[in-house]
Symmetry: C2
DNA sequence: TAATTTTATTAGGCATACCTAACAAAGTTA
DNA sequence: TAACTTTGTTAGGTATGCCTAATAAAATTA
């Protein structure tokens, strides 16, 4: 089944919301926000995707992916992350620049292209943001990670990924001197608002709860 | 001015027809054939492109590119040929496989992407089919070449490019044992139908006029 | 030049994917 | 549980880019 650029984006977004959120299903408004479209448009598209047996959905219900839908979504995610890796490693793109271009590249249709790219990059397992890259058959290596906000005071952890891939967030991360595989020591945490003091490369920084919830560590 | 995928394709096709044909302008039907759409669709699009000052056109007249239109077309051609080179040199695509995928890749919008790719490939000047790759400012290195059909009997020439980039033609070229930079000696030519006998790597082959008109040599 | 053929244009439709505005269902809170 | 808020749906509209069928202009040939 060949899907349009838009249909692929819907499936990918549903997949990403399911992967990021704690919930097992997604709502219309939530998906609309993720895709920067209106809920009415999402509703329309869900009918199409349901007719194509890509989503599991009934009126006023929650959105889930069917097996076929998940297969497509994972494939798009694989392409996205491989392209990000290519841009970062081979074309000297910075951490915060790769996402936007990969949003376009992920829709190029060619099995051979993506598998050759995978080989060319020497079968990378994680993209520049620390997200796992699905393999050719769709298997995703899951890393048991938690957010920085969950780390105990006094403990030291290692940053392995970021939740938010937006350019503005990543630029802020860079400005703090942080990157994948850096060590972070949690010095203190305000119980009032979750703001915390962390130590990175000998420097102490103060970050918000919102920030620490977007950094994955092990 | 940001153009759609389709608009870019129209400009590219006009440019390619102008470059390939001997004529200085292009007709509606000709362009429709090149794009695999109907003349009515071309006519419609020409109105849009004219409104955007990308083509020079009046009712029942011939189609030309404006300066702005040519700039865009050359940029798309640059992207196409750089991607073809990437696929061929880095991802082990064969000669006849690169065109189709490059048709998609050429529309990715990112100045940085294409210039980084150019650098990564070490600023190639010709693509795998021997076509010149426009540089960052749109300059195209023209090679004074002729078709194999024009070579004198008894003369030896060097194949530098192909006119037709279709997979079927290229596969035939490969099957003859021919590739870019190969030497070809013209043994004889039928004045009746232009069929000719050529010598490649010590082997003699008989090829049609249609074939020899699609091989560029110096 | 008149008839014919080719080429180009217009009118009216269709599918995709978006939108706004009005309305309906579900969920929340007093 | 009634009122209110949030979430989801429907109806009707828009732009893009394609189509067919009818028509008009241009080019060719008799």
């Amino acid at each position: 089944m060949d899907l349009s650029y838009s249909e692929e984006n819907y499936l990918k977004s549903i997949f990403n919301l399911l992967a990021t959120n704690t919930t097992a299903a997604v709502g219309t408004t939530e998906l609309a926000m993720q895709l920067s479209v209106k809920p009415a448009s999402v509703n329309e598209m869900l009918k199409k995707l349901k007719a194509k047996k890509m989503v599991d959905y009934k009126k006023y219900g929650k959105i889930k992916l069917t097996k076929a839908g998940k297969t497509i979504a994972v494939d798009v995610v694989r392409k996205h992350r491989l392209w990000e890796t290519f841009l970062y490693e081979k074309l000297d793109f910075s951490w915060d620049e790769v996402h936007e271009v990969a949003e376009e590249l992920e829709h190029i249709q060619s099995r051979k292209l993506i598998n050759s790219l995978d080989k060319f990059l020497n079968y990378p397992r994680f993209d520049p943001h620390g997200d796992p890259i699905p393999d050719e058959v769709g298997v995703i290596q899951q890393q048991s990670k938690k957010t920085l906000s969950e780390v105990a005071i006094g403990a030291t952890c290692k940053m392995v990924a970021v939740k938010d891939n937006s350019s503005s967030f990543l630029q802020y991360v860079i400005s703090l001197g942080l990157g994948i595989n850096n060590s972070i020591k949690v010095m203190s945490r305000e119980s009032f608002d979750g703001q915390m003091s962390i130590r990175i490369n000998g420097e102490t920084k103060t970050v918000s709860q919102k920030f620490s919830e977007n950094i994955y560590v092990i």
